[in-house]
């Protein structure tokens, strides 16, 4: 039987009535905690063209977060900046290539990633269902804050043009791209690939592939907990954040994506609040979302919005 058109699938995600209050409270908690950022040069990873620093900063619940920060040695200040968010299992990017193109480039490592896992380490698999019955302690609560506090860090750096900050990433990195764009309105441009953490309960119906398999497996063992799981995830679903996004944004998805089903990609794109938004839906591609060719589209998009604007 042919698959139904993923573009018309829709979503079962609903927005909790206190969604905005929930996140305002989280933000207020985080705001009481200064970043206390430190930058440590990493000569071994630096090159004649690019300086590399290891960054640490404080985040929600007092968790110390790491990241890679790369700067072009020859720079016209202030610099446009790009944050690269990591996938679920991938290691944080060390974005020397972006620094070589003239950006202040940050490779984020939210809690649980290597170098940010001393105080929080649910593991892989594990993160997606960590404390999934309680929105106030769910693993992604602090993880999300870690991701968008990168923007706060960049905003403190004298070499960064705070009006030209871009965000990008694929899969979980695509989700964090959407979330940062929603929660930090100073972001000037966003490019999200194959976004994860969108339409999560729908995805668990559509695929058996990890990471969503973690939800499938959890509910197979504990089917009676489905309402609570759905309730928690509603606070964390990108679809419920997407209406806040106002910056220019591009999203690419693969129509044969078995990891983040295209139905969910369409749904979150539909919810994005930006007027300037464009979807690239690639037939014949899976979770890679045609990254091989689409990279050039992203490069041109950031050149237009961060360098030539």
């Amino acid at each position: 039987m042919p698959r139904p058109n993923p573009a018309t699938y829709g979503t079962s995600v609903t927005k909790p009535a206190d969604f905005d209050d929930f996140w305002a409270n989280v933000e207020a908690q985080a705001a009481r905690m200064p970043l206390n950022a430190t930058l440590t040069p990493v000569p071994m990873r630096s090159t004649p063209a690019v300086e590399v620093f290891e960054v640490h900063y404080d985040s929600l619940d007092g968790v110390r977060i790491a990241g890679w920060y790369c700067l072009p040695r020859q720079r016209r200040q202030p610099l446009p900046a790009i944050v690269v968010y990591p996938g679920y299992i991938s290691e944080p990017t060390l974005p020397k290539n972006l620094a070589a193109q003239g950006y202040a480039a940050f490779g984020a490592a939210p809690r649980g990633k290597l170098r940010s896992n001393g105080q929080f380490n649910p593991g892989y698999p594990g993160l997606l269902i960590h404390n999934i019955l309680d929105s106030n302690t769910y693993g992604y609560r602090g993880f999300y804050v870690d991701a968008w506090r990168v923007i706060d860090f960049l905003s403190e750096q004298p070499e960064v043009n705070v009006n030209r900050i871009g965000v990008t990433g694929g899969s979980q990195g695509g989700a964090l791209t959407l979330l940062a764009a929603a929660m930090r309105p100073q972001i000037a441009a966003a490019a999200a690939a194959a976004p994860y953490l969108a339409g999560m309960m729908d995805a668990a119906q559509l695929t058996h592939t990890t990471p969503y398999a973690e939800i499938v497996e959890y509910l197979r063992l504990y089917p009676e907990r489905e309402p609570q799981v759905r309730e928690t995830l509603a606070y964390f679903d990108c679809i419920n954040f997407a209406g806040r996004i106002r910056c220019p944004i591009i999203v690419n998805i693969g129509l044969q994506d078995d990891v983040c089903p295209p139905e969910t990609g369409y749904a979150v794109f539909e919810a994005i609040g930006s007027r300037d938004k464009k979807l690239y839906a690639y037939d014949g591609y899976g979770h890679d979302a045609n990254a091989y060719a689409h990279g050039a589209v992203i490069d041109a998009f950031f050149r237009e919005h961060l360098q030539n604007a």
């Binding site: 698959r3 058996h208 899976g286």
Partner: protein, 300 residues
Amino acid sequence: MTAPSDRPADFDTYWNAVQAELAKLPVNAELTHLPLQSNQHATVYAARFTGIGPYRLFAWFSVPVGEGPFATVYQLPNYGSVVHVPAYEVRQRYVVLALRHRGQRLSDQPYAAAYPGLLTDGIEDPAGYIYRGIVADCLRGMDFLLSRPEVDAQRIALAGNDLALITAALRPQASALHCAPGLLYNASALAPRTSAYPLEELNDYTRTYPVQTAQMARTLSYFNPLHFANRVRSDTLLVTGSAQDFFSPAILEPLAAGLGGPVTRYESAHSSYRDGVQQAEWLSTHFGYSTPILPAQWQV
């Protein structure tokens, strides 16, 4: 970009010693049932067994429901700290072992790998290079499989990068090899031509320790898949990039030509869907099944 002359004179001696060291250690496997990952199609275990050091290793071990022994897929680890639980569809048909080598999560006590950093850890000395132990871990995974009654020892396929090829060479019991090289193949010669990790780690290393460049190249020569190729007898599918890619067909042709068994060359479609279907179909055909089991999104 071949490096035939860099095969160390004591290459065989080196690897015979590694294998002898491994053979002295019993596998001492321990299986723990994982209800969360198990389902109506397959039972999943946390497998723990011992590698050289001695070092306790972790792997996902999945066994289809039903009467075995089963055709088996051994998934060798890629470069990164996490190895996923084997895919739902693969688990339905095959016994699957997915190893987390020393340094990767759940095999990270007492040694936790750094990324970047793993590729050059101990690279000054072939005897102390971390990949000596990692290769031995991969061999130990095969030893574990061969000890299991659920495994059809005549039908074991290896899948992965350079580590899969090296394992096929040193554990000839594997009947099939699906290999996408890109880590250790001619690494010291190729690294200066890229700034992409993980090979960039080698450039970071030589920039920082230029006097160690020759020693680094010497150590890597013990791990070059090119020098293992003629020992591979299994039915092999070798995945390459496109002509314009770093690991192009031309770059990898010496490896393909050097393989000791039948080889099929496959140029990546740069699509996880199309490449995934290709791999599933190739394995299915090798094991005599008429069709692969595919995710719903891949079914047309």
